[in-house]
Amino acid sequence: MEISGAQALLECLKKEGVEIIFGYPGGVVLPLYDALYSDKTIKHILVRHEQGAAHAADGYARATGKVGVCLATSGPGATNLTTGIANAHMDSIPMIAITGQVATPLLGKDSFQEADITGITLPIAKHNYLIKKTEDLPRIVKEAFYIARSGRPGPVVIDIPKDVFVNKIKFSYPDKVEIKSYKPNLQGHPKQISLACKAIAAAKRPVMYVGGGAISANAAGEVKQLAEKCNIPVTTTLMGLGAFPGTHELSLGMLGMHGTAYANYAVTDCDLLIAVGARFDDRVTGHIDKFAPNAKIIHMDVDPAEIGKNVRVDVPIVGDVKNVLRAIIEKVAAKEKHAEWVAQIEEWKKKYPLAYKSTKEIKPQYVIEEFYRLTQGRDVIIVTEVGQNQMWSAQFFKYDKPRTWISSGGLGTMGFGLPAANGAQFGRPNAIVADFAGDGSIQMNIQELTTAVNNRLPIKIFVLDNCFLGMVRQWQELIYERHYSHTNLCNNPDLVRVAEAYGAAARRVEKVEDVKAALEWSLTITDRPALIDFMVAKEENVFPFVPPGQPINEMLID
């Protein structure tokens, strides 16, 4: 029996195990939406802006480890996805973005709603395809999923012209993928593993520096095993939060621009730095020549291009970090506590703890800590927007498990949090999903409240409302002589009324003593989103702060 390209696409998605797609209809994807109309298996979530679809697919992927799928029509629909695609690319999130395209005879003629989305997404996707014949569709979808989830994961765009959706084929789905030019190297080289083991044995002041790669490789267990077997203190990047328990005695918390002082000091002083699925990003390293200046560096990553990109590495190991860590754990000799090193770190921890001053005002850090206390031991996923809200959430909530922290790391996309929280809640319906937001970023995709309300998603949105574009204001205060150029957001709409208009439950909290009760209240709302507008201290800063381009041990602590 012959089926249309649109039906074939849905069959392909089912074969790949896709249960849910986030999308928005339009002209050229009508044949696909018609096929969805009578399909009973695949759940389609109607968003209110295509960017929301891309971030929801991304949040779903981060929360579940599965491939997220989003869908948009040609032209503006496709271009609206691009921020979400770039965001997933920077953070190596497996995603399939399906875009409609004008029919093949109209391609290249500036047709209505035509945009060259494969051209546009070249630098922001792992790979992309324009399908010109329906016969090619099953093979291309198979390849796209394989590329998205294997090696270093990432988004793959599949652009499908209208006539490719309409034309009929005899459907069969390939069992295997064979891409001659794409063969990720997953096993670490045994010689390099030995070198790594020797370096670990010789180290007196080792530190593990763990990034998002450990989470995408599902290697949190191995990170912990190696850390415990050899007594190695562990710091994580923003993307690596949850890859090692934040409450563990070997945990140093996050490093970098807003990392803990003790993590930054430890990295600066260490004699061995073991980088696990991390990429020496400028927000982590600060002044690159002064980063871990005395350390031998072991760098394990599945992407060979990351090794040696930003720093010179002594022991490069290309491979899936789970496999590499396993091989090291098997071979390396257990080590006792590095007594002097631990004592030094303890001293730093005592001397420079993460802290803030309590006042009569609501401190944003307090809201986060209070929510942590309230939900400790429960299945919680924290999602953030970008800016101060994100950094405080990274600092003052302890993440003990992978995939409990969802944040836009590489691209730093304001407006990511709310749609990503929706995606995460769809993926993990029993988890408490909370989006810590700022009063700036929450408005960048506020329309996605509709998606949450219509699907009765009990996400929590905690706006740390300081009437400012807080992080930019902080830089203006500290670097631009308090010239608060266009960062004052006091003319924002009433967010409580906005949320209520969307059908969400909402409250405003203005007093410290009401914070706890309000957070508790939000947990009682289980059939719709709950938004709390916390009026927090306006000019609170995120500390520690390493001014851009400075060495990470030269930070402003308060």
């Binding site: 051209g119 070249l122 792992k126 590329i147 891409i179 030019s181 060979p304 291009a305 040696g308 990109k309």
Partner: protein, 158 residues
């Protein structure tokens, strides 16, 4: 340092823009580029000349490998390769100068492809510096038009 990089890719639409775009966004300047199909019609070979130190070369090689359509990337050091570029040069020529021009053509083992009343078209296939010297020699006659291909190169022996 100048490098000649061979990039073997799947012969698919859009591959050239993937490769060219990669050089541009990673900040590597392409001096010349030649593309054509190989002994296998499904595979194309690009020869790219670009400037950079060893670390740049390593990084661009790795980034090229990350492109899904890339099969193989290698640097061709000059001493290990045979290299050719092709140039077509249209030179102003009259009865008086034509024989002088022909002499230069012979010295450089180039050839004349077309002769008209007031010009000749010369073809030269050689290494870049030879083409440049010939161009210099012809300049006094008046070069009307000049077109050059990018460099192509193959490893010696093997």
């Amino acid at each position: 340092m100048r490098h000649t990089i061979s990039v073997i890719v799947e012969n698919k639409p859009g591959v050239l823009s993937r490769v060219a775009g990669l050089f541009a966004r990673r900040g590597f300047n392409i001096e010349s580029l030649a593309v054509g199909v190989t002994e296998d019609p499904n595979v194309s070979r690009m020869t790219i000349v670009a400037e950079g130190d060893e670390r740049d070369l390593e990084q661009i090689t790795k980034q090229l490998y990350k492109l899904i359509d890339t099969l193989k990337v290698f640097d061709l050091p000059r001493e290990k390769a045979v290299e050719r570029e092709l140039a077509l040069i249209k030179v102003a020529a009259n009865e008086k100068t034509r024989s002088d021009i022909t002499q230069i053509v012979e010295i450089f083992r180039a050839q004349v492809l077309d002769v008209s009343e007031d010009s000749v078209v010369i073809e030269i296939s050689d290494e870049a510096d030879k083409i440049e010297s010939m161009e210099k020699m012809l300049r006094r006659f008046g070069i009307k038009e000049l077109v050059r291909t990018g460099k192509i190169a193959l490893e010696r022996g093997g």
